[in-house]
Every structure is written in structure tokens, then in C-alpha cells.
Symmetry: C2
Subunit: 342 residues, 2 copies
């Protein structure tokens, strides 16, 4: 992170919302009687999987790039940030170079290229992506767009939280708590800025995979701690090694803790979103719903905002989640043939 970067504020989130008008979709805030019943409370589910590029990442990327006065950009990512930066750069008419590992799935490389970005492939073993990015920046004058530790990125992601507040108002609801999925912490920090301002006293917690609960443990320790190397999780969007500097400064101030969930809880949440919301949610996008249904977060009698952050999931993985979900009692009979309706 740039040590001189300023801390973003609620006003920055509002300014980002103005920049994103007509660019980012105002994704719906959904509810399900069945999920409310399971939670024993009222869940307000923000469907960012319906955002352009299939995740919230467009918000922060566009807000950051729109402030660069037409400068080219460079980013490294093999996931949702790559597509967010590529789409934002295309919308703003600036060249984008995305540094991606050569062994990334071809589908991701193609999706990013289809959005008009130039792809610089690198060898994970023999090359260091940060050096490649710095070289491209020095040579071309391109600005680096960080995935989370950037005030404009944080403010942009926060517009999803601002929309939650507006949409809850429209429903006549007030969020008592919020669960936000957390990798490096940009979405969490941005949404916390918006939600703490709009719902004073709201309890905000992160949701993370159990081996990547660095923010939960950092909040408990009062300082940034890293994840153990060599851990694995199906939540590929949430595998950042440790909290960002800037994001953690915000999250330490506004959050009360975090919930870690197992892969099995994530898979169940994905199956429930399929059945009751008709949404495709990727593993990293389902951790907050998993946390709400884990029994380890206080949902009973409360209104809880839940972030469903993305839907970029492999068909084979999703099919596997559905296959294993069918023996669950509530889904047991769903595989039976359907008779002709009236």
C-alpha cells in the first residue's frame, strides 16, 4: 500500500456511488422465507453475483480507474479483480494490462481478454508478478490498480454497502448486523464505512473460510496476522495471505469480530442459494450466508444484511455441490421426476 494513501471516508463512498451511476448495476436485495426461517431472523441478501463481470470487483476498479485521467492501468490477478479491472478499463476507454499466471484456467484468461485487456502471462515458478507489474508501469506509465489496499477501491466496493442501506430503507427495514465476506478486506472495509454511517450501532463482522480467517484472528489480536502457508479452501476468491494495511485500519475500527466457516458449510449455503434464491453463488460469495446459518452468529430475531459477493464458479464444482446436496433432508425428494402440471 502507498503509505501516503488517505483513509477513505463515508463521503468517498458517496462520491464513488455518483461515479458508478449507470455503470455498476444496482443489484437486488433479496429475501427468502425459507432462509429467514432457517436463520430465525430476517436476512437481507445482496446479490452482487448479478453485478457486471459476476462480482462486486467492477465497483472498486471503476472508481479507482476513473480518477486516473485516462492513464493506462496494470493489475495482477487471475480472478474476479482481473475481470473487474478489464471491464472498468474498457468502459473508460483506457488500455489495461493484466498479469496472469500462465497456468490460470484458459476460461479466465479468455474472459479477461474478451473484455479487451492485454494479458501478460508469467511463470509462477520463474517470475515474480510484482516485478513484472512494476516493469510495465515504469515502461508504459500505467498505474497499478491494487485489488483491495487502495482508498478508491475501498470506496468503490463500499457502494454495495450503501445500496444495502438504501434498499433496506425502501423495505422499511433496519439492519441490526451485517456479515461481509472477506479476503484482503476491501469489500468489508468499504461496506463497513457505509453501513456504520447509515445504521449507527450496527454489528459488522467478516465471514471467512476457516483456514483463511486472518481478519478474524487479526481483529482478535489487535494487529495483522497472516494465514498459515499451505492452507486450502474452495473459496478461491478469499485466499489473500493477510489483511491489507489500509483495510485493516478501517475494519479494526468498525468491526466487532469475524466468523470462520468450513467448506462443507459453504457448499450447503451454495445449495440453499440455488434452491431458495435461484442464484448461482461462488464459494467465496457464499461464506456470509454460511456464517449466518452456522449457528455461530446471532441471527435470531435480528435483521442481518448478508453479502453474496460473486457467482464466478466452475460448472463442475457447482454440479458437485448440487449432487451432494440432494440427500439433505430438505432436498431429498427434489431429484424425483416432475409430473405434468395443471
Amino acid at each position: 500500500m502507498d503509505p501516503h494513501a488517505e483513509m477513505p471516508t463515508f463521503a468517498d463512498v458517496e462520491a464513488a456511488a455518483a461515479r458508478l451511476r449507470g455503470v455498476a448495476r444496482r443489484t437486488p436485495l433479496l429475501e427468502s422465507d425459507a432462509l429467514n426461517e432457517l436463520a430465525g431472523g430476517r436476512l437481507l441478501l445482496k446479490a452482487e453475483c448479478l453485478q457486471r463481470t459476476g462480482s462486486f470487483k467492477l465497483r472498486g476498479a471503476y472508481n479507482a480507474i476513473s480518477r486516473l485521467d485516462g492513464r493506462a492501468v496494470v493489475a495482477y490477478s487471475s480472478g474476479n479483480h482481473a475481470q473487474g479491472v478489464a471491464a472498468a478499463a474498457r468502459l473508460l476507454g483506457v488500455p489495461a494490462t493484466i498479469v496472469m499466471p500462465a497456468d490460470a484456467p484458459a476460461i479466465k484468461i479468455e474472459s479477461t481478454r474478451a473484455l479487451g485487456a492485454e494479458i501478460r502471462l508469467y511463470d509462477r515458478q520463474g517470475e515474480v508478478r510484482e516485478e513484472i507489474g512494476a516493469e510495465i508501469a515504469a515502461r508504459t506509465g500505467a498505474a497499478l490498480v491494487r485489488p483491495y489496499d487502495d482508498p478508491h477501491v475501498i470506496a468503490g466496493q463500499g457502494t454495495a454497502g450503501l445500496e444495502i442501506a438504501e434498499q433496506a430503507d425502501e423495505l422499511g427495514a433496519r439492519a441490526d448486523a451485517a456479515l461481509i465476506c472477506c479476503g484482503g478486506g476491501g469489500l468489508t472495509a468499504g461496506c463497513a464505512l457505509a453501513l456504520a454511517e447509515r445504521f449507527p450501532g450496527i454489528e459488522i463482522q467478516t465471514a471467512e473460510p476457516e483456514s483463511f480467517d486472518d481478519t478474524r484472528r487479526s481483529l482478535a489480536a489487535g494487529e495483522r496476522v497472516a494465514n498459515a502457508p499451505g492452507s486450502a479452501s474452495i473459496c478461491d476468491a478469499l485466499l489473500a495471505p493477510m489483511p491489507g494495511e489500509l483495510t485493516f485500519r478501517i475494519n479494526r475500527r468498525l468491526l466487532t469480530g469475524g466468523i470462520a466457516v468450513t467448506d462443507a458449510e459453504v457448499r450447503r449455503a451454495m445449495a440453499l442459494a440455488f434452491r431458495h434464491l435461484k442464484l448461482v453463488v461462488e464459494p467465496g460469495g457464499a461464506v456470509a450466508l454460511a456464517a449466518a446459518l452456522s449457528g455461530r452468529f446471532h441471527t435470531r430475531g435480528r435483521t442481518v444484511a448478508i453479502m453474496l459477493s460473486g457467482g464466478n464458479v466452475d460448472p463442475a464444482l457447482f454440479a458437485g455441490v448440487l449432487r451432494e446436496s440432494t440427500p439433505e433432508p430438505s432436498l431429498r425428494d427434489a431429484a424425483a421426476p416432475r409430473p405434468a402440471p395443471s
Copy 2:
């Protein structure tokens, strides 16, 4: 159909929209660059799979039941209409009895019962559901809620079309054409009333499964013709035996024809909605998208409204669609493991 039933008009659709305010969700009208590219035009996709109960059926059921001044209702259906009637009756605080075949999937019976309806199971072989419904109506004074051939049901379903028009306006778009999935024709007729009024000159066509293209053939013949008995389709929501009387009178006036699609085309459309829209769409809900991508409808250079009518699909069927979709060229690499993102 009641021979004295009045033909619904655009004003009835507007009145239904007023009744449904705060009851039916205003489901989003979505777009995808990838699907637009495949169609060579602009597809405006109405995500009624995100409607309460997982399909548009709540709209018509609520509009019809809300006019009955608190009378109890009865309906026969094992599918989306059952859930729509049960949910609407619960919202209006009136008792509902749903006549369902005893061999219907337990999941559907449970879902309908969970919405507060009384279930009367019948034996498909030994009993006639119409007789059971008439007996219940005579004994309890309950009103029968027909699935499509009812002016208030048609007007209610039409509110989805009215929303398409409003949401297209908000996008600054004008629909040149619309493809609406069609079983008995209630959704098609209602949407046609709204779309023909709001977009004069719009070309409206039905989308149907190839062995259940009774409305397409009826439009061509100028009179109602039935489907061949014994046909099969994965589109369980669209298996009505022939067009409704009232619906066909409207559709004959406002539609120019229909497109029939194969099960394979439907499955591909479901896989594309998964990948590019992050939506769970049931087979019957995907026929209009399948028609738009079939090459048999003129989408090139045009703006085409597409109805995605529901998402109530068995996990096993959906998993099968995803499994077979992976070898498709555009999805081929999607099953590869995902690396950790930046």
C-alpha cells in the same frame, strides 16, 4: 373458462400492478455482453426466477384472489401455480386448498404445504381432479383459481411485461421484439397486452418446447389446436394440452407467431444463464432464451425482451445440464482448478 369472462385490457394490467405493489418483487431486467454477442443484438432478460415462490405465478394468483373479498380458494396444480396460489392466499389471509396428484414429488407437496395451503391428494388413475375441485368449491364456497384462462390471472401475469417496459425505459431502450415462454398462454397474453401498448409495433412471439408448440401451431392455423398426446419434454412448466380460450383470443390478436425449441437448446440456454447471468433458470423458464439463441428468430441488430419465467428446477437435473455443458467449447476449461487470486 367462464364463457362470460371479460377480455382483460391494458388498464387491467395497470390495475393489477397497483394491487401487486409491495407484494410481487420488481425482478431485475438483466443484460449480458456475452449473450448479446451470441444473439448479435441486445437481449433484455426479465429475471422472474427471482420472483417470490421462484416463478411469475404469484402475480396472477394474487391479482385474482385479491378480488374475491376474502373467499377461500381452490386450485389444482403440482407445479408453480400451486405455490403461487398458496403464497397469494397466505398473503391475503384466505384458506387455500390445492388438489395435487398423490405421486407428485414430496418436495412440491411440502413446499406448497409450507406456504400454508391445505393439500388434497388424489389418485391420477382413479380420480378426476376437476371433479374434486368442483366438489370442494360446492361444499366450502371456495372459488377456483385457474392457472391461465382467467382475466385477472392474465392481467396479473401481465405486470411482468409492464415492468419490462418500465425497466427498458429506464435503460433508454426500446424493445423491437419480445419472446415469451408459453404453456397455456396466460403469461404471454398478459405481457402482450402490456408490451403492445407500451411499444407500438413490437413483434411478440411465443417460445415453446417442440412437442408442446400448440400456441405456435394454433397461431399459424388461426384456431386452437392441441398437442399430440404422449409427448415428452423437460419443460414441465409448459405442458398444457392446448391454448386457453381467453388467452388465445388475446394472443391471436397481438402475436405474430412462435418459435419451438428442442430440449438440447433449452439445456444449453440454462447453462448459458448459469455462466453469464448467474441465474438458476428452470427448463420451462429458459425456452425464450433458447429461442433467441436458436438462429430461428431475428435478433441481429434488434433489442429483444426475453422472459426467464421461473427457477424451480431439481438439483439433479440442473447438475446434469452443467455436467454436459462443460465440453462445449466456450465452457471447456471452466472445470480446471482455480488458482489463488491476487
